[in-house]
Amino acid sequence: MTTMSNTDFVKRRTAFSTLLTVLSAMASRPSGLVGLILVAFHIVLAIVSPVIAPYDFRELSAQIILNEPSSEHWFGTDNLGRDVFTRTMLGGRQALLVTTISTILAISWGGLLGVLLGLVGGWLDELLMRLVDAFLCLPWILVLLLIVVMVGSGPAVLIPTLGFFYGIPVIRMARAATHDVVALDFVTAARARGEARSTIVRRELLPNVLDVLLVEGAMRWSWMLLAFSSLSFLGFGVAPPTPDWGLMISNARSFMSFAPWAALAPVVALSSLIIGINLSADALAKVLGIDRAQKAPV
């Protein structure tokens, strides 16, 4: 028993130190550093914002409708007299929560299925890949909108839906990455030793495609944020009065000509998060030696 827990401990330590090495390598590039800082900033803000927000995000006031930025209301107020600074601080929480969980879901099921298909091959592989191709032809926003309208909105619907649909392109990535590994000597050796398929997947294949999956995950995360905020912008994502950047921008557009601050604050917040994720993903890809640029966005 004791030896068991000792090796576990060692394993965990090495995983942690690998993470630190990768992160510091990412931070050694200027763009990677900026990206990591932006992402960390947004995650911390999402966690602490309910505590440090200066006003109540629901607080309406007829006296301060569309006020300019001032010392009391740093980013001004919107058409209902709500504090834009408070709402901008809180506006990323839903988006971050939903997209983070969905990304993990998508990478897990897509990655696992892709690796399995890459290993097994044959008619099942052929059939499922045709289905994957067919799914990728569908305009993603139509699928999402249709599901939201017919089933309902909210995280309980959005998390599994985004997780499912964004896992489909991951299947393809993981399968291709597995094909690169599966012909190598150590997999042949494992097969010759008579290892079970599950063991080969777990001990030989997954560790080797993990790099690709991580980079893919970082990229999917930013696409998913884009999808989520587009949905809220169109009015299908987050239910008011919960603050959300997409919804705030869509709302602020109607009085943008005389109160641009109400639109600009969430624009800057959302853009900085998405750019941060992309810069981090780019840096991660370079650190892990994976070229992620030459790929269609599907």
């Binding site: 067919a134 032809c137 249709l146 017919m150 921008i249 853009s271 998405i274 966005p297």
Partner: protein, 316 residues
């Protein structure tokens, strides 16, 4: 060569068949059908039965799928429950409008992207590359509704140069769209350029690092002759497919741009159809967009075949 083309064509048809199946099954599986959506809260008892009978919804799913798919091949998508008019009539002009948007944005975006991508690759890691690449990341990642909103804020509210929203009716002749359409085109071209530019840059860098280019350098081939005769033709081939995929993907996503600019295209029609739960219309638009995607992809495959001497002479 002929067999290869036939294979691609067959694969394309198979994909469209599969997509139509997915669309049909998807709409079946979701709770509610056209009649419950159309009747809303009154959907119960006799009214619902009557409606279902009128639209033939009580027949087996397979029969309805067959009818729908056969109709779609002939360009007949059935009748919209909401509008009470044939779908093909409504879709026609909107489809034209979306295509205008997509084609114009591609005419501007694709050559610009190729030019900038080559420049960025040839002067890799120099200031010009850093500027181009960084701008591309910004343009690529910022959601379309954000960039469109900023464009409206700058060009129609602050500067007052261009109209912020389209007010021309959807079936107006082409020329009347011209002034309205500039900002939506810029918004779409911006994303398109950014995506394609990055692919071109990577592709050129890959080719520049290949053995035969190093050989050419060692042999003393003049730089620009090498670039134009050896690097560019080889670098452009793999991007044809990616360019087509990107354009097709962006066309599926124009709904956001169309909503922001109030542009009467397929995307906004789709949003309205979904909002009114006009399922027949949704199915039709999904199928049209998917077919467009497959078609563009197929076109790119064939173009690659024709342009690539290695594939042209290959026998399979």
């Amino acid at each position: 060569m002929v067999r290869l083309i036939a294979r691609r064509l067959a694969l394309g048809v198979l994909t469209i068949l599969l997509v139509s199946g997915i669309i049909f099954v998807g709409v079946e599986v979701l709770p509610g059908d056209s009649c419950t959506a159309y009747l809303g809260r009154m959907a119960q008892g006799k009214r619902l039965d009557n409606c279902r009978r009128d639209f033939g919804l009580e027949r087996p799913a397979l029969t309805r799928y067959g009818e729908w798919a056969l109709g779609a091949v002939r360009g007949d998508f059935g009748v919209s429950l909401k509008r009470k008019t044939p779908i093909s009539e409504t879709v026609g002009t909107r489809f034209r409008n979306t295509i205008i948007l997509g084609v114009t944005a591609s005419i501007i975006g694709v050559p610009l992207a190729i030019l900038l991508g080559i420049i960025a690759a040839l002067w890799r890691d120099r200031p010009v590359d850093l500027w181009v690449s960084t701008t591309a990341i910004f343009a690529m990642t910022i959601p379309e509704f954000v960039s469109s909103t900023v464009l409206i804020l700058i060009f129609s509210i602050w500067l007052g140069w261009l109209p912020g929203i389209v007010t021309t009716p959807h079936d107006a002749p082409l020329l009347e769209f011209l002034s309205d359409i500039i900002l939506p085109i810029v918004a779409l071209a911006l994303v398109m350029t950014a995506h394609i530019l990055r692919m071109v840059r990577t592709s050129v860098i890959d080719v520049m690092a290949s053995d035969y280019i190093q050989m050419a350098q060692l042999k003393g081939v003049p730089y620009w002759q090498m670039v134009f005769k050896h690097v560019l033709p080889n670098a452009m081939l793999p991007t044809i497919n990616l360019v087509a995929l990107t354009i097709a993907w962006l066309l599926g996503g124009t709904v956001v741009i169309e909503v922001v600019f109030n542009y009467p295209g397929l995307g906004r029609l789709m949003l309205q159809a979904i909002f009114f739960r006009d399922l027949a219309m949704v199915q039709a638009i999904a199928l049209i967009l998917a077919t467009l995607y497959v078609g563009l992809n197929l076109f790119a495959d064939l173009l690659t075949l024709v342009a690539n001497p290695r594939l042209r002479t290959m026998r399979t």
